[in-house]
Symmetry: C3
Subunit: 209 residues, 3 copies
């Protein structure tokens, strides 16, 4: 018969597994987005359904996190923090899917180099978060990874400002400006959501270490 | 003389009454917004002051929630949750009023069908929330209503993407695009605020059930 | 040898000092922004580096708040509240710096009067917050200052709506509309961040009074 400690451990494990799943889904979504932009619009019909599938999987994992929280009386870390970290990863995935879908909705015919740069920064940030997630399990220091997410967010901020300045310098067509500004802003929101996830990870570790 | 239990009960009741009031104000604001869009611009001068009055009432109820929290040492549910639910309803009302006012600020002459569809989704979501609020009182399962809010948010998301794609397909005038994109986004933020209120309601019930 | 009480007191003092520093940095950033807009574009090369320096200082103070939280087991007020107040001030500074930088990124040649009005409202709000911060130390009533921040936020809301209506009434060039709408929205987000800081201050005082 399992001891009480083992029961607790096996119950808690599910949250770490769900964090690992949703962080891997975020990495996969960002990889698909970079590939979509790199080959745009050639592989759109092939890649877009995969991105939408990632978005649904993110929703399902977040739903599972909520359902497990409802069944669990004692959680290894604060319920609010579990939910906030899950939601932050779900936001990353949602903004990446939106950025991808808006390329199509806006009838964009060729990608801009800066969008690919921003998506690559988003991908690097999701990879650092996937490395930070195992630290939540044993409350070991994740600052090596979370600092890198902050550095990437700063790089993304400079990249989007340069991209917007370019848009206004060369953009004679306001419709082009409206479209790209919107795509850039969704990529920026995705990167900001990565930074939020990094902050929640640091908070959880500090509170429980 | 009232027993201690009765005193607690009567003190607590005020928060449930204030939640009921602010959720009904959200329903009323959304009803007025649907009517405004349906008849736009004919009944603007009649309906807009009523929408502004709803917005002021929302502010007053939220102010009352804050004031009551300041006077109350033991609250039936976490203070943070009481404030967050009140704020979420206030956000719903604020975004609805903003969407209505911007129709006038932007000098819009005829409404677009998609805006009316989005406002109708917002109205349906506020009605589900008004049904969910009594569950907060006895911590009974509200998922029948909150699931419907999530479904409506997904429907709103599809509707706005279709509306934006239409705008870019037919929109030769960038000023028209800027105006409607902004109105659609405020309606979307109102629907997102409904989803946030649904999440807070679920959280409160789970934590206290 | 210091008594335990004194040790606690000296440890806690650091958070109040950091709040004072970051609120003064917010005031300074807003002062520079008003001056930048008032003289635009003449003093841009002189004032912009000072605004960027304020933004870096804000980041450093927030980083110091996080680092001190990590070293401190018992905090005078909830860790979450300390972090949220620091973040709110950092947001005020970030939006002010963004508004200033976008004037340059967008190649704006002359400022609009409404932008200067909005920046002045932002400055007044930061000054009220700087007066409210000392109340956090002894949990004395800050409502005289926080009410004024709410009043300023309402004034800012009316100002931005009037400014946007003007933009659409006279704006024949959609590129001009896109640029100014974006600058106005960043100023509005800065003022909203002031209101959020005021709410956190009120919450901290209520919880601890």
């Amino acid at each position: 018969m399992a001891s009480l400690t083992q029961l607790f451990t096996s119950r808690d494990r599910i949250f770490y597994e769900l964090f690992a799943q949703i962080s891997e889904t975020a990495v996969e979504t960002a990889e698909l987005l970079v590939e979509l932009l790199h080959t745009f619009p050639e592989r759109r019909d092939e890649l877009m359904p995969e991105i939408v599938a990632c978005e649904s999987r993110g929703d399902e994992i977040l739903h599972e996190i909520r359902a497990r929280l409802n069944q669990t009386f004692v959680t290894p870390i604060d319920r609010e923090d579990i939910l906030e970290l899950g939601s932050a990863f779900d936001d990353v995935i949602d903004f990446a899917e939106e950025a991808a879908d808006y390329l199509g909705l806006y009838g964009i015919e060729a990608p801009m180099e800066e969008a690919e740069n921003l998506a690559t920064i988003l991908l690097q940030a999701t990879r650092q978060l996937a490395l930070a997630v195992p630290c939540v399990r044993d409350f070991s220091d994740a600052s090596e990874f979370t600092h890198e997410v902050h550095r990437l967010e700063n790089e993304g901020d400079r990249t989007i400002r340069r991209a917007i300045a370019e848009l206004f310098r060369h953009g004679v067509d306001p419709m082009v400006v409206i479209r790209w500004k919107d795509v850039y802003e969704r990529l920026e929101q995705g990167i900001d959501a990565c930074e939020h996830a990094a902050d929640v990870i640091d908070e959880i570790i500090v509170k429980n270490a």
